[in-house]
């Protein structure tokens, strides 16, 4: 199974949530690989974060302010390739203050921008940890549900 966590950024709150799902988050952003890597986010490709013990691959994807448009388009793409998307879960992580994260990402282009990006992101995300954790737990539940559904489908011979 592949899990795609969509957000306004693929290297801030979505990345924190992905690390929470993978049990790697220790209440400290410094240990998160590729945290605040805005250049990686701008490329537009899904970012592979890691796999859990069940072999489920977790990815993040940033869509900026057009997150709704991106979500609809990806759902449409899943319909076009319905067979191939059966083991794919697309979900979202949203936080309060996303506009600050967008501002921090934009600042990364100017001198000292990376430092500012990191500073603002840390300040915003520290306050949002409970909200991100709640959404990460919900995603884990969705992953479990999808796995159970697949198991049932295979048992019934309809897979």
């Amino acid at each position: 199974m592949k899990v795609l966590i969509l957000g306004t950024s693929g290297v801030h709150h979505t990345l924190v949530a992905a690390n929470m799902i993978l049990s790697r988050f220790q209440d400290d952003f410094t240990g998160i690989d590729r945290y605040c890597d805005v250049q990686l986010d701008r490329r537009g490709f899904p970012i592979y974060v890691g796999s859990d013990e069940e072999g489920r691959h977790i990815y993040t994807l940033g869509a900026g302010k057009e997150i709704e448009t991106a979500r609809k388009a990806l759902e449409g793409l899943f319909e076009v390739f319905s067979d191939e998307s059966r083991y794919f879960l697309i979900t979202e992580v949203r936080i309060k203050g996303e506009i600050w994260i967008r501002l921090a990402s934009a600042l990364a282009r100017v001198p000292l921008g990376n430092w500012l990006n990191r500073l603002i992101s840390d300040l915003v995300l520290k306050r949002q940890i409970p909200l991100i954790r709640a959404q990460a737990e919900k995603i884990q539940q969705q992953m479990e549900d999808l796995m159970r559904m697949d198991y049932r489908r295979l048992r019934m011979g309809t897979g």
Partner: protein
């Protein structure tokens, strides 16, 4: 193969390119305003259509041709779709084409007046004029896409 033409609103340049691809428009001459207006989705989309992948038809080789409005996601959007297609293992079955490169300021102005402000009476003649101006460039783009799809 699935071919997705995308532009800002999924209403003008992507629809015109998809129509050229599907031979719904002549390519040896510039289409009339009436011919453009007769196309499905041409200058008829609403805000709810942003992000929706809409099937325009199937070409002579069995390729399904779609249109999509991506708002301000820019060229990054092609990479988003291609990246997700890669994760699904279907990247060879998907062609994503950005038609924004041939959108002129007349089309932008007409499209804005017709779709955003909601004054099609004023915007449509302008957007049709702009589309006719960009038409031959779109014909060239579609030719390239068809060659790519054939490989």
């Amino acid at each position: 193969m699935e071919i997705i033409y995308h532009c800002f609103g999924g209403s003008h340049s992507s629809v015109t390119a998809a129509a050229i691809h599907l031979e719904m428009l002549p390519t040896h001459r510039i289409p009339t305003r009436e011919e453009l207006m007769a196309l499905p989705y041409f200058d008829k989309t609403t805000d709810n259509d942003f992000g929706l992948i809409k099937l325009m038809g199937v070409d002579g080789y069995g390729n399904r041709v779609y249109v999509l409005g991506k708002r301000s996601l820019g060229d990054r959007f092609s990479r988003v779709l291609k990246g997700v297609a890669e994760l699904m293992g279907v990247e060879r079955e998907l062609l994503v084409v950005n038609t924004m490169i041939y959108v002129n300021w007349v089309m932008m102005l007409g499209g804005y007046v017709s779709r955003r402000i909601g004054l099609p009476m004023f915007g449509r003649p302008v957007v049709c004029y702009g589309t006719r101006k960009a038409f031959l460039d779109l014909v060239g783009l579609v030719k390239t896409v068809k060659v790519k799809a054939a490989h």
